[in-house]
């Protein structure tokens, strides 16, 4: 083990004794940090290998098409299961959540960073932090006991006036335990994560940019449009991706609210559907060894989807490097 630091020439004025301890400390620290990095990679590789191996066991025996089948019956004879419903539910509920949460989060962040008086801004930031600390099962209970009954009216309204759009046409009956409700609940859950990151980015907009805009006679809105938003764009994107990551993987809240079923419905307000994480949580208890492998196979798909989303976010951020001051 020859470390690069050992070859580096030592500064001449350093005393002999201290230099050796410094060198040892350097070496230890280098080893530790390099080790941490390696451990991280090994863990990721181990997770991926584990998922892929167990998934391959299940998929090789699947009698239905794993990617397109609308069923989950790995314990049946023959075993038939597919992830189409889960992928659809996961993506659709996350899209709804993002569509609702991102604009609101930008609004809150702008208010806190640029409009609110300082006395109000600090407590508001604290309250947003608190929202992020609520455990997801509590969100789930709130969703099931409060949100679902109260959404009945909104659902009826959407069905009546926007039913012609097909997606808002309500054909199923019963309480609103639908992907739409899940999307709204997820929006509330990811709101604090997104807001916090965006607020931090907005606060880092160079004072000079804003003052320059003001000096040119810009109104407050124009300042925000010309200096804050362009500077914060990559921050907004990475914040959204953080939120999306949480929405994609959210388990307990979805499992508490959704009425799971493997019947496809394009109507968002109809009860039914499922997401990857929710399905794993719901089926794991009663699953036998093969059933667990099948669930792991679905977990692998979620893993891949999350990787793709994160990769896409990185690409977008990398393209806008000129503003990368706060993106990281």
């Amino acid at each position: 083990m020859d470390t690069p630091t050992s070859k580096a020439p030592a500064p001449p004025e350093a005393p002999q004794g201290r230099r050796t301890t410094g060198k040892a400390g350097d070496r230890v620290f280098l080893g530790l940090s390099r080790g941490s990095g390696i451990v991280l990679l090994v863990i990721m590789a181990a997770i991926a290998a584990f998922l892929a191996y167990r998934a391959s066991l299940a998929i090789s025996k699947d009698q239905a098409n794993f990617l397109t089948a609308f069923a989950w019956n790995p314990q049946g004879n023959p075993p038939e299961f597919g992830i189409a419903i889960l992928a659809y539910g996961t993506v659709v509920s996350s899209i709804i959540a993002m569509a609702v949460a991102v604009p609101v989060a930008i609004g809150i962040a702008l208010f806190v960073s640029h409009y609110a008086p300082r006395k109000l801004a600090a407590p508001m930031a604290y309250v947003i932090d608190l929202l992020a600390a609520v455990p997801s099962i509590v969100y789930g209970l709130w969703g099931a006991l409060v949100l679902v009954p109260y959404l009945a009216g909104l659902n009826q309204w959407l069905d009546e006036y926007l039913g012609w759009t097909y997606i808002f046409d309500k054909t199923g009956s019963g309480p609103a335990r639908s992907l739409f409700t899940v999307g709204l609940l997820l929006a509330v859950m990811i709101l604090p994560v997104i807001t916090n990151v965006i607020r931090e980015v907005f606060l880092q907009v160079p004072r000079m940019h804003e003052e320059a805009a003001l000096a040119l006679g810009a109104t407050r809105w124009e300042v925000i449009r010309m200096s804050v938003l362009p500077f914060g764009r990559s921050g907004i994107i990475s914040a959204s991706m953080l939120g999306l990551g949480r929405a994609l993987g959210e388990t307990m809240a979805v499992a508490t609210v959704l009425s799971p079923s493997f019947v496809f419905s394009g109507h968002l307000l109809d009860p039914g559907g499922g997401t990857f994480a929710q399905n794993i949580a719901a089926k794991f208890n009663e699953a036998d060894a093969f059933g667990r492998d099948a669930l792991i196979a679905s977990g692998l798909v979620l893993f891949v989807i999350t990787l793709l989303v994160n990769g896409a976010a990185r690409l977008i951020i990398a393209r806008r490097k000129e503003y990368s001051g706060a993106a990281a």
Partner: protein, 366 residues
Amino acid sequence: MRALAVGAIAVSSALVLTACGSDDNSAANGVNEKKAAKNIECAGKGKLLASGSSAQKNAMDVWIKNYMAACKDVQLNYNPVGSGGGITQFTQGSTAFAGSDSALKPEEVAASKKICKGGQGINLPMVGGPVAVSYNLPGVDDLVLDAPTLAKIFDSKIKKWNDPAIKKLNPKADLPAKEIHPFHRSDESGTTANLGKYLGKAAPGDWKYPDEKAWPAKGGQGASGSSGVSAQVKQTEGAISYVELSYATSNDLSTAKLDTGASEPVEVSPENASKAIADAKVVGKGKDLALDLNYATKAEGAYPLMLVTYEIACDKGNKPESLDAVKSFLNYTASDFGQEVLVKEGYAPLPPEIAKKVRETVPTLS
């Protein structure tokens, strides 16, 4: 943030402490325990592991509490992993006995022969239970349903509460023109399988689905676990579902009477379920006491929507280190003292004839 974390730890540790506290309080009915203790013959010692059906979890909890209070040498642990998991663990040799809500299948019997040297796994009926049809329909207290109507409701063929089929069974009730919201278990459940068996036997023309643990029909909404289903029925006007009686009672849900063809519609209760179990035939061979329940029974006062759970052990070749304790425990659970504590938990005691057979079989295990 740190203050918050400290607060959270304080709160959660307080919760843990209270949870421990409530365990101690349960010894409050010590009189009953002492009475029970006198009637338990202890044998064997050490750790006894069992796992299986969650439908009999509450019964096992009471039995184990009473048994361990009497027999300090034995430590019994029942893990409600579900029937399938319980049988798998039993046939892998990791548990002393299993609990299951259905009798062993032929391939499971074959697998059990590896563990039971010179013998095989047998089914010992131990816990009976009625499944309640619970509903939420303000203003209608004495709903009467029969198997075909129930089948059509759960199959989404009957969609309104004032449907002629329901009206015919409830001529006096003031049925609203509301939609019916049927709820089913979204997780795999022995309760679902039993409802399927009942509907398949008592209304074969209207229920053509296999009696699987996963909900087979389309339509309606799912909820997870008996508690989840109960909560939905409680919350949703017009809802109907099926849960073990104890959940319907503890959630204060209305339960429907079943028109079985007997002179009067039958109410759900442990006693009435026992009457229906008494109509069952023992179909197991040798020491195996697997039952064939008569879901289409027309006996007076017999509530046909019921389930029976079994304890599964080897007839021969039980593990020597746990054999004595298993026999002593199962002797207790099958005894009158073991069976009578079930009623309070919403379970149905075994009818005398079947209980007698179980009591004769347990001491012969070897």
